[in-house]
């Protein structure tokens, strides 16, 4: 009897959250998959089953491959650099340097600002002739360049913005982990005459491993989710040079209103994320134990 009431209780408590999850996560994920096998409904034409046609269109579309390669470069640029900088920032702020409260605040500030707002500021930053970057460079005798308007530099520019936005956020997790390391380890190392670098390499870094993996998971997901600054700064251009996968979903779905293609594109993105998650899970499993 008690067991039965516990079951009822448990499911009743769960019901509201579960209903919304099914409605706005599980069902749409499934519906995306189904819709990706149908044609886009147009005014008087109902969707018809087209099999893998949408996927064929995507694979034949050079813009998809461009977005994929852009996204991989974007990920390769943001993930290691922002994690590396975050670690460096945390180590500095953790040491008793002068004015560390202010320094920590400066590092963390980008995290609380809306991406859309800071993208506006960076847009101004990169403006040819007029922007700060152009002015600094011309002071050193460099020539003015259209950073966001050139295919060679636009992707790097938006990558830098993402790194700037994320590093301070990841720093927080390293800082939390560093503060968990018992101070007597550092004292012992100092007594033994170990160098700062040696202490970092042999003590701090291994102890930070779980944090690094946690931050890595977040960084990977973010690399495929961040598109706000793309919408503000470049709208995927010039000539799709800064188009990312999620931006392409947005473009197909809400600029071209081709919802079937957008659905197929979403499936590609979700499968990619699932594979990455699976890979990380296999990799993480040995190292981190959740209770």
């Amino acid at each position: 009897m008690h067991r039965f009431s516990s079951t009822i209780h448990g499911w009743l408590l769960l019901l509201p959250a579960m209903a919304l999850l099914v409605l706005f996560t599980h069902w749409p994920a499934l519906a995306t998959l189904i819709d990706s096998f149908y044609s886009t409904p147009r005014q008087r034409r109902a969707p018809v089953f087209v099999g893998l046609e949408n996927y064929r269109v995507i694979v034949d579309d050079p813009v998809f491959w461009q977005a994929l390669s852009n996204n991989l470069w974007f990920a390769l640029g943001t993930i290691p650099v922002s994690i590396g900088l975050a670690l460096l920032m945390a180590l500095w702020v953790n040491d008793r340097i002068a004015g560390r409260t202010i320094v920590r605040m400066a590092y963390f500030t980008p995290t609380v600002l809306p991406m859309i707002a800071v993208a506006n500021i960076w847009l101004f930053f990169y403006t040819p002739q007029y922007g700060l970057l152009a002015q600094v460079l011309s002071a050193f005798g460099g020539s003015s360049q259209n950073w966001l308007g050139s295919k060679d530099t636009a992707l790097i520019c938006v990558t830098i913005v993402a790194i700037w936005k994320e590093a301070g956020f990841f720093m927080i997790f390293y800082l939390a982990a560093l503060q968990q390391i018992p101070p007597n380890l550092g004292e012992a190392a100092a007594l033994e005459g170990a160098s700062r670098l040696y202490f970092f390499r042999r003590v701090q870094f291994p102890l930070l491993m779980p944090t690094t993996l946690f931050v890595l998971v977040n960084a990977v997901i973010n690399a495929f989710r961040m598109v706000d600054h793309i919408i503000v700064m470049t709208r995927g251009g010039p000539d799709n040079a800064t188009s990312l996968l999620l931006f392409r979903v947005y473009e197909l779905g809400f600029s071209f209103w081709d919802t079937a293609l957008a659905a197929a594109m979403t499936v590609v993105l979700l499968v990619g994320l699932a594979l990455l998650a699976l890979g990380q899970y296999v990799f993480l499993e040995k190292r981190i134990h959740y209770r």
Partner: protein
């Protein structure tokens, strides 16, 4: 010494875009890219930006949005977390896995189908439509479940001996003990949804439902050509509440983000 210098240099670089925006916003347009120390200060840009777009309405919308989301998240996630932490029932393992699936299949990615759903529900272009996909937060459920699990079973038993029911025990024992976690989750949630952009951009189309971020984008991309002074003023305006809250409660903010991260 060298390290301190490098740390400060990086800090300067990190805060530079913000300083730049502050400079431009508080000076007349002709000084927007000229850095002469004695340039006259002005609040003109802010008043012009405020007058050029319905920012008061956008502020109200964002405020209602984050309140609605956080309020519903707290209730739903608390109930679900309590179920997972203290009830053993068949199917709880699968249910928990289904909840955690949202950590990877984020609402941000399911924009196409969620748009269709909102359309069918007939609530496109409304604040609840922006909020709904985020209300059942897997992150919140997970965080609170972990916290509730650390509550000693004896406290639970004691409350029940005194005749408290399941919900009363939750409210009297678990919720008060989890206060710091609620604060942490609240700060993370509010700053996330204050700043969220893509989904609100898609699902809203009128001044009555647009949050600040979308309002700012509409304002700076169409209304204004490229008057950077006004755009910078508007940008600072939209970020100001969070920024000021952050400066005032820096310690709590940092600790909250830390707490939310240690799982």
């Amino acid at each position: 010494m060298l390290e301190t210098g490098a740390a400060w240099l990086l800090a300067f670089l990190w805060i530079l875009p913000l300083l730049y925006a502050v400079w431009t916003a508080f000076h007349p347009p002709e000084f927007s890219a000229r850095f002469t120390p004695l340039a006259p200060l002005t609040l003109e840009n802010f008043s012009r930006a405020w007058a050029a777009a319905p920012f008061a309405r956008y502020f109200l919308n964002t405020f209602m949005l984050v309140t609605l989301i956080l309020g519903s998240q707290l209730v739903l996630c608390t109930l679900a977390a309590y179920a997972f932490a203290r009830h053993t029932f068949p199917g709880s393992g699968i249910a928990f896995a289904l909840v955690l699936a949202q950590l990877m299949i984020m609402p941000d990615v399911l924009i196409v189908e969620n748009y269709k759903t909102m359309n069918k529900l007939g609530i496109l272009d409304s604040i609840p439509a922006i909020a709904l996909p985020y209300v059942a937060s897997a992150f919140g459920v997970f965080l609170l479940r972990q916290t509730f699990k650390t509550v000693p079973k004896e406290l639970d038993d004691a409350a029940r001996v005194e005749g408290a029911g399941s919900l009363q025990t939750l409210l009297r024992v678990y919720v008060p003990l989890a206060k710091p976690v609620y604060l942490a989750y609240g700060l993370v949630s509010v700053s996330y949804h204050w700043n969220n952009f893509l989904w609100p951009l898609i699902v809203t189309s009128s001044v009555e439902s647009r949050p600040l971020t979308v309002g700012l984008q509409v304002f700076s991309s169409t209304d204004q050509g490229i008057d950077w002074s006004i755009i910078c003023a508007a940008t600072l305006l939209t970020s100001a509440p969070l920024l000021i809250a952050f400066l005032l409660f820096q310690r709590q903010f940092v600790q909250s983000f830390m707490r939310a991260g240690i799982r």
